[in-house]
Subunit: 338 residues, 2 copies
């Protein structure tokens, strides 16, 4: 049975049937339910090419990763959440990976020209991000995972990075720590700037100086956490506490602390930001890790929801969310050593 | 400058230019180099839609994940490798996630009908897999990550799962262990069947009985590893050694052993199969973990390479690889307790 026959059989136009089955909620819920029920009963399976012609929709959302090597645990949890939401509406994800910033811009141009996606997800934005200007110029709808400065409003979902680091730093100063280190992400991203700002502001509010030797930036890997922590411990006045930007950095930091013959939670307190990886729980580490936490999988799922609402016509300035971050105290933080 | 103008300018046909720039190696390397150099010099950027019309190629490879929830650390490492290779030829990856087996079949039908991908990657195959029959019927080129029984040859890349578990089991029996447990993957997949078979055969060769209470199957998560290990330890005759199918299962098993007041490597020896996650190194665990290892990221990269060769016309029976697995002894294995 083709579209024409199926539409005739249930007494609706081909366009209405296509829209009802396309995954985009542009028809009344009753109509949609009726079409889906009839398709199931009559064994009608839509031809996607015909459907795309009818609706003008690609049925896919794009996401670009710079550097295949960076497709890591954060990407996979985010994609898991995003795909969980999009699959409910039969929408696919087109993944492009590129090497450089210039290649990424070229990839967005290609995606816009080829009409292979209906919208894109922009992630890890910089404070001012040329990609936002580019996507507007290309008229390619987008949602930002994170935040950025821009003249006109755009849709985004971010977590409260400032609040997370403020809480973590305050907890450590309350425990009497005076020399606190920060392992942050790459310097150009907004989230890393927000975390730096919170760290600086909280230390200042507590009357503590910021020692540049005790802050470091880099990718969220075990390796970077290890390297930075070793450097902190080698400084003339090593820290008694450290805040790691990810679970992966925290693993490296723990290793460096252990190798130095020190005990986490006793000699050096440690707090990590946890994006919640089901296979890497802070409860399973020894000692269990104090964390600020926000599941990145849930963010992916929510962004999937927001992108569908945006394509349905919802205004971008109503599609802006900042999620609070939880704080969970476990065994890796304790009073500053005397 | 459009395709027509660019082709005229460098004195080649539009088809040759399209092919040279499409990412598929169907033109002579010299021609390709000449076209790419001229495009760079003259600032020509191809329009993908026009290119697809000219070459009949989608410029994307498809992959379907059953259950968004299963998009986990293995998927992300594999995708990282796959995309690293495909990006060199400007090929994207179209990710579809589905809920059920039936939905997966429907997704393959849609991908074939819509011509949005040139080939698909089939992963986690069963011993006899209906998806292989379906993909053949749909004439959708495919490469299998893993192995399966089928009448006609197909392209695949697998690791030597039998050899991995044989080596691990033999190492434990050499250390004097007589009660060895196995935490395996889901029962329908070929890799899990190969691992079960190797475990059974090696125990038999050593004259040891197989105790069904000491083998368990399930998803490769911390949770499953924990639950199965707790059950093994609660049995009337608990094991003195265990083989875990993944690093994630091993983390759960370690937790269960620790909670039972036992020491890994002393009271209970542990070997894990490690797909090599950069953020979860067996060297970083306490004690460091003895592993069989094969990087799943490298497999993704190689499969990207093989799919491009297949699309260039290489015969599927020359695109079949089985990779040996390394064995690395660390601190988590020791002599059987007296």
């Amino acid at each position: 049975m083709n579209l024409k026959e199926f539409a005739a059989r249930i007494g609706l136009s081909q366009t209405t049937v296509s829209r009802a089955m396309s995954g985009y909620p542009e028809v009344k819920p009753e109509t949609r339910a009726r079409v889906l029920e009839a398709a199931e009963r009559l064994g009608y399976r839509p031809n996607i090419s015909a459907q795309r012609l009818a609706t003008g929709r690609a049925g896919a959302i794009g996401i670009v990763f710079q550097g295949g090597g960076r497709f890591g645990p954060h990407s996979s949890e985010f994609m898991g959440g995003l795909s969980t939401r999009l699959q409910k509406d039969g929408i696919d994800i087109l993944v492009s990976t590129v090497e450089t910033e210039e290649d990424e811009a070229a990839a967005f141009r290609r995606l816009a020209a080829s009409k292979r996606v209906d919208a894109v997800i922009l992630h890890t934005p910089a404070c001012t991000d040329a990609r936002i200007t580019l996507l507007r110029a290309l008229r390619l709808p987008f949602i930002v995972h994170g935040r950025s400065e821009a003249k006109k409003p755009f849709a985004y979902l971010d977590i409260d990075n400032f609040g997370a680091i403020e809480t973590a730093t305050r907890h450590l100063t309350d425990l009497g720590h005076r020399r606190i280190a920060l392992i942050n992400g790459d310097t150009i991203s907004t989230y890393a700037r927000d975390r730096d700002a919170a760290f600086r502001a909280t230390l200042a509010a507590c009357g503590l100086p910021l020692d540049p030797a005790l802050t470091g930036h880099g990718e969220f890997t075990d390796e970077t956490g290890f390297r930075l922590m070793q450097a902190f411990l080698a400084s003339p006045e090593p820290p008694t506490a450290v805040i790691a930007g990810s679970m992966m950095s925290a693993l490296g930091a723990m290793r460096a602390i252990r190798i130095a013959g020190l005990a986490v939670g006793h000699d050096v307190s440690l707090i990590a930001h946890d994006d919640v990886f089901p296979y890497l729980s802070p409860d399973n580490l020894v000692p269990a890790l104090t964390t600020t936490q926000s599941p990145i999988r849930a963010a992916g799922e929510r962004i999937g929801d927001m992108v569908l609402r945006m394509l349905q016509g919802e205004a971008v300035d109503t599609l802006q969310e900042v999620w609070p971050v939880e704080f969970v105290v476990r065994g890796s933080t304790g009073p500053a050593p005397a």
